[in-house]
Subunit: 363 residues, 4 copies
Amino acid sequence: MIIVMLPGATHREVDGVVARIEAAGLRVHVSRGEERTIIGAVGDVRRLEPEALQVLPGVERVVRILHPFKLASREWHPEPSVVKVGDVEVGGDRLAVIAGPCSVEGEEMLVEAAKAVKAHGASILRGGAFKPRTSPYSFQGLGVEGLRMLAKVGKSLNMPVATEVLSEEHVGIVAELADCLQIGARNMQNFALLQEVGRTGKPVILKRGLMSSVDEWLQAAEYILSEGNHKVILCERGIRTFETYTRNTLDLSAVPLVKKLSHLPVIVDPSHATGRADLVGAMSKAAIAAGADGLLIEVHPDPPKALSDGQQSLRPDEFGRLMGELERIASAIGRPLTGVCHSGSGRQNSGRQAGSGRAAGMV
Amino acid sequence: MIIVMLPGATHREVDGVVARIEAAGLRVHVSRGEERTIIGAVGDVRRLEPEALQVLPGVERVVRILHPFKLASREWHPEPSVVKVGDVEVGGDRLAVIAGPCSVEGEEMLVEAAKAVKAHGASILRGGAFKPRTSPYSFQGLGVEGLRMLAKVGKSLNMPVATEVLSEEHVGIVAELADCLQIGARNMQNFALLQEVGRTGKPVILKRGLMSSVDEWLQAAEYILSEGNHKVILCERGIRTFETYTRNTLDLSAVPLVKKLSHLPVIVDPSHATGRADLVGAMSKAAIAAGADGLLIEVHPDPPKALSDGQQSLRPDEFGRLMGELERIASAIGRPLTGVCHSGSGRQNSGRQAGSGRAAGMV
Amino acid sequence: MIIVMLPGATHREVDGVVARIEAAGLRVHVSRGEERTIIGAVGDVRRLEPEALQVLPGVERVVRILHPFKLASREWHPEPSVVKVGDVEVGGDRLAVIAGPCSVEGEEMLVEAAKAVKAHGASILRGGAFKPRTSPYSFQGLGVEGLRMLAKVGKSLNMPVATEVLSEEHVGIVAELADCLQIGARNMQNFALLQEVGRTGKPVILKRGLMSSVDEWLQAAEYILSEGNHKVILCERGIRTFETYTRNTLDLSAVPLVKKLSHLPVIVDPSHATGRADLVGAMSKAAIAAGADGLLIEVHPDPPKALSDGQQSLRPDEFGRLMGELERIASAIGRPLTGVCHSGSGRQNSGRQAGSGRAAGMV
Amino acid sequence: MIIVMLPGATHREVDGVVARIEAAGLRVHVSRGEERTIIGAVGDVRRLEPEALQVLPGVERVVRILHPFKLASREWHPEPSVVKVGDVEVGGDRLAVIAGPCSVEGEEMLVEAAKAVKAHGASILRGGAFKPRTSPYSFQGLGVEGLRMLAKVGKSLNMPVATEVLSEEHVGIVAELADCLQIGARNMQNFALLQEVGRTGKPVILKRGLMSSVDEWLQAAEYILSEGNHKVILCERGIRTFETYTRNTLDLSAVPLVKKLSHLPVIVDPSHATGRADLVGAMSKAAIAAGADGLLIEVHPDPPKALSDGQQSLRPDEFGRLMGELERIASAIGRPLTGVCHSGSGRQNSGRQAGSGRAAGMV
């Protein structure tokens, strides 16, 4: 941290800043220039916030040099982390596609959706049991009943399942029944919930908040990591801007950026980011090309009948076509899709055999 | 709700939309023009989301006509609501100033801060026991211990107290010990927490999220109201924009706007909005002039020593000077400050006697 | 400027940075710490952009310490500047209200509007002859003909006139006929136009761009100032955010902020910021309370018939009522409105006599 | 356009709206429901702005149904437009890469840069002669001298050249010497400049403004098109958001979106969007995968010595590697790069022979 003093800062003011830094257990380096005195604070500056120094008399500006996160950073963990969801690796050599309906609406539709996404190469099944809805009058999900359906269907198809948890109260049951917990964008800074999922030790998909900077996102991950749970998958899902044609603005540059700053895997959710089924394909392809470790895509057997987010859900046939296109791009960048045979028995999905691999993987 | 069909929409597509609307229990009015067919849905459209229609074949656009909130709306409740926090009215003829330190750091400092803000005319004491911090390594508040201190100090000075609740788990204890619960900006769409505070029946200050539209804010209020708790105070505290000189951008136009859309009282928090003590005064005055029902201001006996948000906290003397200026503007617009003698016994706070009134109010 | 080197930066890399700084004519101060080397660049850093150093090998981060503007800064010119538009002072003890129709639509309506705003206390007449329209199919203004009408009406009523200039080509004629040139938000970084108006020596109202940071705004002012024209009036008119109820989001905190950073007067345009006549009053009052030096308000004799911006224009009677309310707030903060008798002879506009003062000022 | 009347709107108010619509030459369709009256306006609604109706008594809301642009729309021109810059097609089967230095700094460096980008497969040379700089103290470009250098180098290497025009005054000379004019983001709504370049008939790259919606961008294109110049290439270059790691936020979803709304070609500038050389590669690949018709990439022989934007410029070898990666993705999506042999004689750049095709194309 560097503290720039005001032009006329007194010796006493400089001493005040030095004392405050030393009181936090850091070392100090003072450099008196002709125009200004500049003070460097050396040590674990996470113990001292810039704001605490900003307010001291004589201080013009405080500049943070180190990133405000540690366990999530590349400096701390230079190799990319691979997070296993069931048997599926996220962040490894292959790309993972997580797909399924926005909400679990019933067992029949879920089975239909799950079979379809598996057939087309998705390796993890998603489905919402607890739904965060802007309006209290909207469909709120089937709750624990939906969760049980999801677990059952995932088991029967040998697909690990991921689902959102909204409330501290439900973390226990979700961790018991699902293979992966999801923290939604609106809860990215629900710190009580972050700590609670941190204590479960289960893989967590942490969506970026609509309003969250990359620094805040990685600090939210730090909340989970600092509880001892290192299985965090980051998910870019669009930020809020002034543009209204799309629901949010997918910030794809966050993908290569975060992969530089952090060792955690990064996936992309083009369905929520755009809010439009007709843009999901293009943004899925772009996400893969930008270096994402996977995708989270909403697929519904009959989107017009969906109880939530039908406008952004793909039909199974659309999803199938998209997966074909994604495989070509995935091969071009040397990272084939994980495919359905993640347990290793069947599918040999190297770049060479991508096409036949996918065919072999069909149900 | 108005559904505009695509230029070439077929009769069958029109019928599909009509069927879907009627299935939701609404009446339908179809208007076939030369170029397009337009369908109106009449009834409680809160039972049917625009997105559900958007996805139907042949639909070009769905336009919501009614607001997506009901209990929070002026149509539902034309008269402005007055919310009582202890004996202090928020939303009535007088302006309420809620002040105190960002965090409860200890009893001594809290007493000092509380006496100071009361002496200068604040009528409700604020102080954070549970602190939402971007980093897990920052001071997280004294928790229940801090909450007990706050309750004790408030009682001893006869000031109702307001404090933030972060976790569903703590709603019970906070509702027991505090007079008013605060939902922070980052939790504005933590729906589980909203429902939980809705069940307490206690006054709730609902801060606007950093990237929440006014519609979303009022729908968040609707979550609390629909649990039967009508004591909601809205608090504008800045939205996130590209400008970096200030922590957020205070959206003061939201004050008169929300007062048109809703009957709920609206207060303003210039401390968090600007993040700079040197702008708090100007924005407090502007908020009053814009029609806010009150202010939420951070005051610390010694800001450079604050464990959080020192850079935006006023010193007691600065707060005192500001209160003098606010009284003049409050008088000019005909809404005097609530002052300390809110129970009516002492203070004659007319514009004329503002100065002496304030002196009389001192402890 | 401070250059923070990467942890393992070599001596050669440090020397490279030093050489680059010295080549720009600045002095260098190198401080080698245990973990990092920090380099300070002293002198007129405006000759060296941070980006030019950021790209050098071994550099982690470059931190600008000084503001990127000079002539616009308070350090350069500690006293507030007063800009005279005709006989009316902007930035002095009194508040200036600039009012009139969005567009000059014809002489008759202009006379009617001008008489009304003058009667109610506006001191400068505004009216658009060249209109910047998002669509090429919208009414583009009457051009030079409208400009001549404006000049004529202003002269006949003894009111200085302000009008927007859109094109370098028209700077000459506008400077000849108007007392004050306005640069619109969309042209804030039209550098060719800024330089051109800088060369006229005429007062310029420089609106903040919808997308412009305060630093960029003051650098745009610097373009005008550096041409030798010091008569710049800054105008906050809202920035673009995600909120859609209002056309833009009025950033009132920019008013006290810019008055700290710069000596230039700052006025506020609540009409364009909100885009809604029903919010103009509240935001005008808030702007005055926040410390603005004046207001720019759209008034139209018959808003429903306006050829542009009718939805945000006040009727003359609404404007009159608002001026009464503004006077009370202006008195409360000790800065009476300029009124019509700006040449000083007539109006005694103390807080006490605000009402009669205004009456006396009527035409 | 649909006009929704307020619940209690009178017959007279309805008649007022009808009269206004008919006065604009449109037909009217009135639908009186139980709760509200809804009025449809049929015809060329571009002659009537929603705002003009919004202000009429009794109107609750005006909803635009048609897009506010016409010549730029897909409805008007269903087939994608191909714009030829010199001999290079933009918007056709092949992808065009426009590359070169941010500024023309001298002939020697320009020749070096141009040879390098041509050798690696760029087909159009870019270089700035007139530079829009935030600060008046920054390097402003070599002006006409730089323009002449650019033209000369382009000619000698048989590459068409593109360069920005900042001022109406320079449109003539730029149109004379360059093959393609560029309108920068800050001038996207400089309507005088748009009209001026519209009159030249030369290809125009129209960059999206930092805070411009897609609708505004297409209306800006409409300004050029409506002057009779149909050679408009749209360029997404990032919008302004709250994120600060990147200079702007590249809105890649705008690519497939705009290609649905408009027939005009869309290219992407990852250099300005991210402001960081280390993100240019990933975003270039993503842009191609998202469906962009081309890229605009800054390449400098020695970025640390660049007079502008060095931090975002690629070195020639980095550019070469990137082009190799882009070719693989381009082949995967079936749209090979235009390559250097745009005049048709040499390069057979089918997906099959992408590798050898590029080698053959080298200088």
